[in-house]
């Protein structure tokens, strides 16, 4: 154990954040302001998510941190180490074993359960920001439910590209009331926003927390004649052969060679361990031999 208070933040700060979280859960989709603290990492590296995680962690928790679906990227590794050091909690890369998962830009493929909390790192919490730059005006639009402008953005997409080209941070309406930015997750993940787990969103620089309580109704906005599609690359995973996961495209040589792999590394490994093989996969444990 280090000399830090449990999970870095002092108890008063954690109480303040927990109050914001409770309010956010009580008003799903509503952006609750909170007094975001300076954290020992730069803005944009998940300061909002880290503060929310710190306020939720208890010593018995098992923490998983993912960045773009992977457990082994810099951002994920450093945040995991941060909480190992400051909270001394157990960590894991297995989605099913984790009690609290902090994520950037993905929702795990494995359906979450009622015993889990998913914490999102959010860069810009305001879904109307790029349409209306004035904060006073966007607040008023939220309070009066004036959301026509969101559809103007989708209209422009279709007019220009023939379809809704927005592929991430796709706006949703929560419980028929607030329009919410689900953070920059791919729109493939939008259906997973209706979940058994508690989902918390923390924006550190913008000082906002919002939340989706379990089983909350989340609808991706669309047009009747251009319905929402949770699209993904039209391939199977080249490692585990899955047809139903979100894929990353990886350039493998300078001759145009590429492969598609699951962005959720834990899920992919689990499938390969169970014996599923993709087009380019060697059996697990023999990657280097190939």
């Amino acid at each position: 154990m280090s000399d830090y208070n449990f999970a870095y933040l002092d108890e008063q700060t954690k109480r303040m954040i927990r109050r914001a979280i409770l309010k956010a859960l009580a008003v799903p989709g509503y952006q609750v302001p909170f007094a975001s603290r300076e954290m020992p990492m730069p803005y944009g590296w998940g300061t909002g998510g880290v503060q929310v995680s710190a306020a939720c962690l208890v010593p018995e928790d098992r923490l998983k941190v993912i960045d773009q679906g992977a457990d082994d990227t810099t951002n994920a590794v450093s945040i995991r180490r941060f909480f190992e050091k400051t909270a001394g909690v157990a960590t894991t890369t297995k989605t099913t074993e984790a009690t609290l998962i902090q994520t950037r830009h993905r929702i795990p493929e494995e359906p979450l359960t009622r015993d889990q909390i998913l914490v999102y790192q959010v860069p810009i919490p305001e879904p109307l920001r790029f349409l209306e730059p004035r904060e006073t005006e966007t607040r008023k639009m939220h309070s009066l439910e004036e959301y026509g402008l969101v559809h103007v953005k989708l209209y422009e997409d279709i007019a220009r590209h023939g379809q809704i080209a927005t592929s991430y941070a796709y706006p949703v309406k929560v419980e028929g009331r607030y329009v919410m930015d689900p953070s920059p997750i791919p729109k493939f993940d939008n259906p997973k926003l209706e979940s058994e787990a508690i989902q918390l969103f923390g924006a550190g620089r913008e000082q906002r927390i919002y939340a989706l309580p379990p089983y909350c109704h989340v609808v991706s906005l669309d047009f009747e004649d251009h319905p929402f599609v949770a699209s993904k690359a039209d391939h199977a995973c080249d490692l585990c052969g899955s047809n139903s996961t979100y894929l990353d495209e990886v350039i493998v040589d300078d001759a145009g060679g590429r492969m598609f792999v699951c962005s959720d590394t834990d899920y992919c490994e689990g499938r390969r361990a169970a014996g599923h093989l993709g087009r380019l996969a060697a059996p697990l444990g023999q990657e280097n031999a190939a």
Binding site: L144, L149, E156, E224, D225
Partner: protein, 256 residues
């Protein structure tokens, strides 16, 4: 017949200065009323108080709503007022940049009010946008262009289409022909006149151009120093002005 708009004792002060004071009038369905006066006479203040952009200090503005009949705007909640201004009202700004979204295509500009009141069928929204572009004489193939690529006259016509697409009953216009070439003005005036007649619109038009009100307005109010000094039938006020200020105004117009 119930007036669409009844204004009584409307007063707006800016500290010690008077914006407009004790303004009274009724506007009936299908009527177009002009407000003229020099800069600083209070005509824009009055228009903004009527449209709910400014809060008046005293008096009442009663609008005959579709659902609940006559209601005082000053007693209405902000959501109700904003809903009115998206559906039953339109506001045409002098500078089209103030009334358009310059980063959004012409079709998106026209469609915004439809989407704001719940239209969710892309094809239907687009068809209505095309219909309105046609009515304001903008070619269909410009529907996906941004207003930044339009001339001043086209921008102003686009602003009108954007405002009228939800079939409002009352239109506020602030110097609608202000920044336009004379030849473009004529076309716009003809367009406005046709729309007012076909849609049975009521309108309040603020301008300092007496020729514009003669052609567009049924009735005329003349303002000076925040007060209405004369009101009546447009051609009567212009041809037989009773107040000294109106006589001065009318006799000051340059003849072509």
């Amino acid at each position: 017949m119930t007036p669409l708009l009844q204004v009584k004792g409307l007063t707006k002060r800016y500290g010690a200065r008077i914006g407009c004071t004790a303004v009274n009038f009724d506007l009936f369905p299908g009527e177009v009323m002009g407000i003229v006066g020099e800069s600083g006479s209070g005509k824009s203040t009055l228009l903004n108080c009527l449209a709910g952009h400014l809060e008046a200090d005293a008096g009442s503005v009663v609008f005959d709503t579709r659902a609940e009949g006559p209601r005082d705007l000053r007693a209405m909640s902000e959501p109700e007022r904003r809903m009115l201004s998206r559906t039953d009202w339109a506001f045409v700004h002098q500078n089209p940049r103030d009334g358009l979204r310059m980063g959004v295509s012409a079709g998106g500009n026209v469609g915004e009010r439809l989407m704001a009141v719940g239209a969710r069928h892309y094809g239907g929204i687009r068809a209505q946008a095309l219909d309105w572009l046609d009515r304001v004489e903008i070619d269909a193939d410009r529907i996906d262009d941004r207003p930044t690529a339009f001339s001043g006259g086209m921008q102003q016509r686009l602003q009108i289409a954007r405002n009228l697409v939800t079939g409002p009953r009352l239109v506020f216009m602030d110097e609608p022909t202000g920044g336009l070439d004379v030849s473009v003005q004529a076309r716009l005036l003809d367009l406005l006149r046709g729309l007012v007649r076909e849609m049975g619109l009521s309108a309040v038009i603020v301008t300092h151009d007496l020729a514009v009100v003669r052609l567009l307005a049924h009735r005329l109010m003349v303002m000076k120093s925040g007060q209405v000094v004369e009101a009546g039938l447009t051609d009567q006020v212009l041809d037989d002005p009773q107040h000294g200020y109106t006589q001065l105004l009318v006799s000051s117009v340059l003849q072509v």
